[in-house]
């Protein structure tokens, strides 16, 4: 009964290796079931994302399992086993648990703190549950991983600051305006980046999108997508007076908007604040307009700078997250050790003894007139009952059976042997 992890990720393997090893579509089910059927492997989960492929397993003998799974991987994906071995990592026991906790908490991600990995891990777990390839140990490990990840998220600021340009833009908008849903929004040019940023803005409730694009048709298309309206490109300056957030990404070789024009626009807006994001390269908007009151202009480099600061912040928070992981590993190990049968037998016996002693005392106090002979007889009977009751579970626990972990867990649960540290 040992937890192992075999896998590779963006740090150990290039994308072409990761691609080949990925368990996509039908391969996931086939792969998962076949791994589970390998000798000495009692449980298995396969996690396959674009940045990592990992197999979590409960095995009898880690060394043998590593070899078996490695051979399986190179057969299944038709890869050279020597080349594969260079990219794979093999972890067991504490290292394996730590790794899974770190993956779930997004500490091992390419972008530390990114939230998708937890969802992907949950999906992998649910799929394995559905295919019945997991048992008590991995189920417990996954549930624990999810709770550790949640704790990391709430107790640290690891996921707090935006680490992509488009999210950084939304974050800034929310520090300028209170409620984005009452703000109007203009897309100047219809590039891919602008579209992405627009999507993020919309998800925060921005309404009333206006698209001004050089090719009017493309503008109309995009406007339709966002339920907005398209205007002629030449009219953007007029529209600027009514737009609170502007994302500009055209291919124009020179500035489209100068300081003097913006000054007039601001007058027309009665100085209501405006947030302009210029993601075009070369820039399309005179950087000087940032000096105007109530105008906030950010270009690609500015946003990149914001992202970099935030990445640094996240790294600081990652330290705190590692402490949480260490703490949780200790509590998980405590649970694993409780799965050993010897302490369970002892706990069961102690519990029976305690109950017997209590009940005997109560009885004797109630009937002080009982004679020595009667007392002996009652005690004898109590002993016989408890012994006969705990004999079968004790024997069962000592037998070497297939699903012993489940049996131990069941006994601990049925007889309430888990005390306070074990409430799920």
């Amino acid at each position: 009964m040992k937890i192992i992890v075999i896998g590779l990720n963006h740090k150990t393997a290039d994308v072409d290796v990761r691609e080949k090893l990925a368990f996509n579509g039908e391969k996931l089910e086939q792969g998962l079931l076949r791994i589970r059927q390998l000798p000495g492997i009692d449980e298995a989960i396969v996690l396959s994302t674009c940045n990592r492929v990992e197999i979590y397993s409960n095995v009898k003998d880690p060394e043998k399992a590593f070899d078996a799974i490695k051979t399986f991987l190179s057969d299944f994906h038709d890869l050279d086993s020597a080349a594969l071995e260079k990219s794979l990592y093999f972890l067991q026991d504490r290292d394996a648990v730590k790794h899974v906790f770190r993956v779930g908490s997004s500490l091992d991600s390419m972008v530390v703190g990114e939230p998708q990995i937890l969802g992907q891990l949950k999906d992998a777990f649910e799929f394995a549950l559905e295919k019945k390839t997991t048992g008590i140990l991995l189920n417990r490990l996954m549930k624990k991983t999810i709770s550790v990840a949640k704790r990391v998220r709430t107790d640290t600021k690891i996921a707090e600051n935006a680490v992509s340009i488009s999210f950084a833009a939304v974050e800034l908008a929310r520090k300028i305006f209170t409620d984005l849903s009452e703000k109007s929004f203009m897309l100047l040019g219809a590039g891919e980046m602008a579209e992405l940023a627009a999507k993020h803005m919309m998800s925060f409730g921005v309404k009333g999108v206006t698209v001004a694009n050089r090719t009017f048709e493309r503008g109309c298309e995009l406007a339709k997508e966002f339920n907005g309206r398209a205007i002629k490109f030449e009219d953007f300056l007029k529209e600027l007076a009514h737009s609170d957030i502007v994302i500009c990404s055209t291919g124009a070789p020179a500035y489209l908007l100068h300081k003097e024009e913006m000054q007039r626009v601001m007058k027309e807006r009665r100085q209501r604040p405006v947030f302009i994001i210029d993601i075009s390269v070369p820039r399309n908007i005179d950087p000087g307009i940032n000096d105007l009151d109530n105008v906030y202009l950010y270009d690609v480099d500015d946003l990149q700078g914001v992202v970099e600061t935030n990445v640094m912040e996240r790294k600081k928070e990652a330290g705190k997250a590692e402490d949480i992981v260490a703490e949780e590993i200790a509590s998980f190990e405590k649970w694993i050790s409780s799965l050993d049968s010897v302490p369970t037998v002892v706990a069961l016996r102690n519990k029976a003894e305690d109950i017997k002693r209590e009940e005997l005392e109560r009885l004797m106090n109630k009937f002080p007139e009982l004679g020595e002979k009667e007392r002996k007889a009652i005690e004898y009977m109590a002993n016989a009952i408890t012994n006969k009751l705990i004999h079968p579970p004790t024997v069962a626990l000592r037998e070497d059976v297939e699903d012993k972990d489940a049996l131990i867990a069941a006994v601990r649960k049925l007889y309430a042997l888990n005390g306070n540290d074990e409430k799920q």
């Binding site: 600051n161 929310r174 300028i176 305006f177 209501r272 604040p273 009151d293 109530n294 906030y296 600061t309």
Partner: protein, 271 residues
Amino acid sequence: MGVLLFELSLTFYFAATIVSIVELFRGSKATSRLILIFAVVGFVFHTASIIARYVIAGHLPITSLHEASSFFAWCIVLIFFFLEYRYKLDLLGPFTMPLVFILMLSSSVFPREIKELSPVLRSYWLGIHTSLAFLGNAAFAMAFGISIMYLVQEHHLKTKHLGGLFQRLPSLQILDEVNYKLIILGFPLLTLAIITGALWAESAWGSYWRWDPKEVWSLITWFIYVLVLHARLTAGWRGRKAAVLSIVGFLSVLFTFFGVNLLLKGLHAFV
């Protein structure tokens, strides 16, 4: 009794100020809660100390610098609670409590004896005129704190240095809005304070307006806030300009309050 209550409130406001400084450097839900708790406890003692003094003096205790500073601080905390309840602006405590503490500290420095009120001033106007004036001043004081928050946040956004307080300070829009609302609240109070002051002067001294320094400076303050409102409504002076003007206005309030009493002598010299 009154003295003890005053000292207790001073202590709690001091505690709130210390936690405020901690909040600025490493804030959490716990610190902002603690500021509010200390402020509430301080306010309870503070209110009790003012009532105790009212009972002894027989009129609103506002006729010495000690009493007036304390009452000023009390009004600020009152408006602070209202803003906390209504808007829940992050970091408002750290931009309020130090000012409250400084006012209370200066109050504690001024002579504390209760002076006999001159017969001319024994009038119901005393309570009305001063309450209006100090509530107005308190609204301007909170607008001052909010304006500083605005300028800090605006500085972050303009210079694109998004560390420090950026994440925790509220959005520019809400700060600007609250600043405006506080001035909208403070301005009529100040106007009424000046009018009631004139009426009271007429009944006490026989003329509405004597150009004494307090009157002159109140008028200057009043004009600054007229300018704030006028520029906003006509030229759209919001945001940074409004914040700067709001700060200038409050400096004028402070000078009207402390400067005139300490540096210039006039009819208001008793306060």
